[in-house]
Symmetry: C2
């Protein structure tokens, strides 16, 4: 039942916005509110503005209320002041419109008795009439495929990542940030106070959604901990689930209470949760995006052995330390491999170790780069590759040459071995900066994961390894998994 | 003796570059090597190129060798192939030029027997003639005040930070990155293989250097651990010492051996080192720069209590978690303070808690922002302030208004209470991005520490608190400090 309704919402062919306003002329086109956002994004379905005077908006005929609408809505978005929300919900029930996103804030999250009462009221109406409510106090859904979104300039890249977020700001920030990394989205959901639809309801839907291959989540509180645990554990076997849990610290838990009125905390429970579901844990939106990038664009590593290839000196020491700190190893090259490498890499200015500092290979006339990559590919203890580039040490005219080699030679010879690029640039030189950013974008658009720090690259690959190599894929450990008894949250 | 020679090097009025080359016309002006770097930076002293043919370079008269020079040099920079270095050193001895920077690599760090022998040879020459050698295998010194530098486009901002680095790349990267944060430099030293002058020699000099107020260091191996320990412990009482120790992990230690031929490792020793000297520990160049920024631009906090002021929702939860994770607390506002705040902050859309989500104060007609800041200032348990801004939630036309308030109202009312700004921007909107970067630069130029993530802001302030509040300032603990017996490294 819920499943069918969600299918309708995410693929809505008709949307009414109750409380649609005209754009604020003084503040430019980006201040047209939810209606303006849907309109500007190019929503592909039929859009109905509703406001008390029935004034048309952006040339689109408006209606005074839901009763006047010519057809039932796949989704009704409610953006009226909190005290008017109960009335609109009753109108929804009366017109048979069951899929509702309440954008309005000012309910449970304020902690004020009056607002808590208001939340209780709308909960009763929703339950009495079997309404499916996203929110209140949230941004609702964003589906790039159908150009559904309630905020300005949302991500446009369509792809297999879905994001469930208890914070509307995070829904925007994560998808914006990840979008710039070349990550495309299927569904983004900001569910706020979770009146009827909670994270677990959306999770159930995404579990079976063929367009979703990776699920990222930002959680504050959880209503049904057992259900979440079971779902995440099951889904994570086939679709990686990456979770940023807000409010795990004492100060964070207090902030959560003010934000969505949820109870957070219980660090130990969450520690066990991650351990036993195998879900990937993130500590910030950026970390979650970086990890998603690795999971989305690379394959399964067979171990935690790294080869670092690229710029030398202190950078290489830092790269080694960064890898080791997150549990990755840098195995010494085998004698045979060293001998082969020495046969075509001159010792001066290069280091034939791991890290391999021999950037000269990118500018060599022969096929030595390919041969080196083949050696990486064949080595059973070298499971993942980081190519480290210091853009200040290259002339910008060489960037496209290096990019071409990465997109062809590296990709072809490393095959399914996880491979990422990490770059650094510090010189205060506008030309190098702009060229480096273009270089990065070119690689990201070609599906190569690119990071701006070793810390980020190493952490993402360590989480990639953790996901693919962690014990929840080993059936003989089922028993240990089943011994957990999470409480409700 | 060493002190006087260092004084000469850092204030060199005459520099000879042995092995000075003409710029490579094909590679543009930035490939003029060391001589070109000094020339382009605008070195203020007398510059003498030396090359076998005595060809003038960039219009400057050249000499065939040191014997031909018209005056003794304050500094001789040696940039000839490794096998020729012993000969040049003998020439230095012959001409009484005792201050030498050997740029050339290809000595101990290669691990090759021949190169190790070469290092032994130059060590003997240096010792026999009392030469003061920076390097080999290093970038040498950079002194923005006198426009001395051996690399392209070095930092130009003069200031009270000095940086000692065993990596030439890090010397450049750290100063470039920190320079963009508004940090100015007194002396930057890349000392590489440390033939005669080691980190401790430079540290001794900087201890008494009136132009150096903060010392940052990148260390791989250390020759005299006891001396380093004693120096750092002493200096750190008056000038903060921030250290990034490379090669603390097993992989990192292997990389260090290839890089500068030093022995690294011994994590436990370094753990005790930091604990007992009170030196501030950094894990990356960026972290070191962020921490330097806080130490340089803010005062001493009286405790670890934070107030976070700014953008709401998930951002506030993340900010709280980030602070708590690094040992900072977010005390609840006192009843009196809450009552006062409620008297002028409307409850709708704001949160009168800690974090305080009331950005409206920046746009209020009265003096409510000032009043709020006074409350922060007066609260004994609120020791540091983070102002959190989400640039996507502001119209760019408001940025300069906010910046003005930060530079005047915030600075005036928070007085000596440490205060930093942290901003976030994720929308793919070029105008907002450019305006946000200009906003950031404006604040940095005005001496306000600005961070791009809560993690960075919180970590830097936690290190600031650690420096000012750690036990090495309490004399009754002297005994514990003296119980350490570090080994040599």
């Amino acid at each position: 039942m819920i499943h069918a309704q969600m299918e309708k919402m995410f693929n809505a062919r008709s949307i009414a916005v109750v409380g649609a306003k005209r754009p604020d002329e003084n503040r430019g086109k980006t201040f047209g509110g939810i209606f303006g956002a849907l309109h500007d994004y190019g929503y592909k379905g039929r859009l109905y503005p509703i406001n008390p005077h029935g004034e048309s908006i952006m040339g689109i005929k408006a209606y005074k209320n839901l009763l006047e609408l010519p057809e039932p809505m796949d989704l009704v978005i409610v953006s009226v002041p909190a005290p008017f929300v109960p009335g609109v919900l009753r109108e929804c029930a009366q017109t048979g419109n069951k899929n509702i996103h309440i954008f309005t804030a000012g309910f449970k999250e304020t902690g004020e008795p009056e607002s808590m009462k208001l939340q209780k009221d709308i909960e009763e109406i929703a339950n009495a009439h079997g309404l499916h409510v996203i929110g209140p106090n949230c941004m609702g859904i964003c589906v790039p495929e159908h150009r559904i979104a309630t905020w300005m300039e949302p991500v446009t890249r369509v792809g297999p990542v879905s994001f469930l977020s208890q914070s509307g700001g995070h829904a925007q920030d994560f998808s914006n940030y990840a979008g710039k990394l070349g990550i495309g989205f299927s569904k983004i959901v900001s569910f706020g106070n979770a009146l009827t639809l909670d994270s677990t309801d959306f999770l159930e839907y995404l579990a079976d959604d063929p367009k979703t291959k990776i699920i990222a989540m930002y959680l504050e509180g959880v209503k049904n901990g057992r259900k979440l645990f079971d779902l995440v554990k099951r889904i994570n076997r086939t679709k990686p689930v990456i979770i940023l849990k807000g409010g795990l610290t004492e100060s964070g838990a207090k902030a959560v209470l003010s934000h969505t009125g949820s109870l957070a905390g219980e660090e130990q429970y969450w520690h066990a949760f991650f351990k036993q579901t195998g879900a990937v844990r993130a500590h910030s939106l950026e970390e979650m995006a970086h990890t998603t990038l690795a999971l989305l664009k690379t394959g399964k590593p067979e171990g935690r052995g790294m080869v670092v290839f690229g710029a030398g000196g202190g950078v290489v020491v830092g790269a080694s330390d960064a890898c080791s700190r997150v549990g990755l190893t840098l195995p010494t090259f085998s004698e045979t491999m060293q001998t082969t490498l020495r046969s075509f890499i001159p010792p001066a200015g290069n280091m034939i170790k791991n890290p391999l500092d021999a950037f000269i290979l990118f500018f060599d006339e022969g096929d030595h780069l390919a041969k080196t990559l083949d050696l990486f590919y064949q080595a059973p203890d070298l499971n993942m590759v980081i190519l480290s580039l210091h853009m200040d040490w290259l002339d910008p005219s060489m960037f496209s040459h290096v990019a071409r080699h990465i997109k062809t030679t590296c990709v072809e010879h490393l095959k399914d071995k996880p491979f990422v690029v990490c770059w650094r640039q510090t010189r205060d030189d506008r030309e190098i900066q702009n060229q480096a950013l273009a270089f990065e974008q070119d690689l990201l658009n070609s599906g190569i994961p690119v990071y701006r720090s070793f810390e980020a690259a190493a952490l993402s690959l360590s989480k990639l390894a953790e996901y693919h190599l962690s014990f929840h894929f080993q059936s003989d450990l089922e028993e240990r998994v089943n011994s957990v008894t999470p409480t409700n949250h």
